[in-house]
Amino acid sequence: MRVVRYIGKRMLFIGPQLFGIILVSFFLVKLIPGDPAVMMLGPLATEATLTELRNEMGLNLSLVEQFYIYIKNLVLHGDLGRSWQTTRPVTEDLFLRMPATLELITLGLILGLLIGVPLGVGAAYLKRGILAKFSDYYGLLAGALPDFWLALVLIFFFYTILGWVPPPLGRLDFFTIAPPTVTGALLIDSLLDGNWAALGSAAGHLILPVVTLGLISGGPILKMTQSTMDRMLESDYSRYEEMCGLPKSIIIRHALRNSLPSVVTIVSVLYGFLIGGAVLVEIVFSWGGAGQYAVQGVLNADINPVLGFVFFAAVLSLIIYLIVDLIYFAIDPRVRG
């Protein structure tokens, strides 16, 4: 099978690709000014204790040696080091936080699709009229508005004034008991646990951040859908289907199917971007996601979380691109060739 061979080929490249990403990010992160030892021991520490700690952390070694140790630990033990802030292994931290981020952006992008695709299709089909105008303005606004600002506006209206949603403080109400962690995604875990209280609470907390991301990511999805649909509806085969007297619904459906590869592409790009890019929304909602974790690391010269985050994000991106390619295979027989 072509698909299997193709995936196999891709797998072979994943190792070198990841190595490259770690190599570059390792040395770049080391360039961030700030001494972890000073951060950890505070301004009153003596030079002797600082040196001792530096030696203990391996900071006295050359960068190349440090990199070698880092890679060795990663490959042999799956160890990404510890965060001095949380004092826990980075891997554990990320396995706790990454699902929170993924749950958020996945739902956000699904909402973005639900907004962007129908609007894009409608705007492309009708060309003029209220819907097309609305789509134009929406696309413009979604591109121009900062996501954290939109989040604050939403909180102001729906929490402060209307009180329809729970406070923007984390993923669950303070008193709700979290379900046992299986996937890390609270909706799924509480469903598995049959914990309806947690399910409701988690859903309530998800509403605003998901709406924020959905509204923002709906913009580019809409623009992409609209422009490719425009092209597909003007294409030779759409005209031909019109000449054959096929109903509009069929012509639109076929054109949409031909536009899907572009939509999938933009969604995958957004997904990769949002893993880190949703950080401001995470902060506004005190989400405790991976992005927030990484930023804390950067601010406090806590290097391992930053590198760990880059590594996780890279792995996720590679998985997403692989999925995208599989979707292309499924949609387009010419790729299957």
Binding site: D236, C244, I250, H254, N258, P333
Partner: protein, 328 residues
Amino acid sequence: MAENSAAGTILNIEGLNVSYPVYETDPVRALRGIDLKVREGEIIGLVGESGSGKTTLARSIMQLISRPGRVDSGRIEYDGRDLATLGEEELRALRGNDIAMVIPNPRTELNPLVTVGMQIANVARYHLSLPRKEAKKMAMAMLEAVQIPDPTRRFKAYPHELSGGMAQRVVMAIALICSPRFIISDDATSGLDVTVQTQVLELLQDLVQQQGASMLFITRDIGITAHYCHQVAIIYAGEIVELASTQNFFDNPQHPYSVMLLSAFSHNPKLRGLWTKVVDAALEGAAESGCYFAARCVRASDKCRAEHPDMREMTDAHSVRCHHPVER
């Protein structure tokens, strides 16, 4: 090919003018006063160079003129009904069902993501309100009728997996599946190799005649019309300049433009020179009064430059739009 004079008229075009507006200048007049009758069971060949308005005519009949073109005047009657008065849904019911189109580039005009079998079946499904299964069965029968090798396998093939000749047969299957009464073929075989072209033409002719349909066969290749059409119409700069039965036309072409087209096939430069005028490209297309062909015409007189000629019936079934038709 037998004459078909007793049959009724299926398509009647009268005084059709179509133009494309151009920003800040005069609109381009793509069709100028087209009169054309197609009788039932008749194949009419429409010959013209690129840009002569052939495709616009096809799209006008389909009521699908590409934007921003518009019909300025004239009417197209299909089976006694003025097409301009029909609503979008009525037209949709006609297209592909009563009036079908055979297109020139099937590999770009067939939907690349849908199997050819389903593309044929879809047309039957919506026009004949058949259940999916019935429509598929019918599409399969149609693939056999157009003599595609290994039809069961081809049914599931995608357009890019077919050769040009096979894709052309698929397009014919789509055109013919609802047994249309009128078929427009727009340069349909121009992309094919000659040995395949003849096979496809023979098949198209057979199927059209089997179904008793009429056909407007649009082409740049005047050679094809000599062998596959009952009548020949020559179109120049958006108007029909000569219309005759095939035999009459080729025995006695009367418009200087028609003769010029035919002279291009001659291997004798002197004879060709008799009918071809070397023109400055700048002068070409300038004539808006008088005969549009005057600038390129070897027989042009002052009258031609001043006065636009009307279509005149010279003999039975032979009309020419010329002040000085060729006499033999």
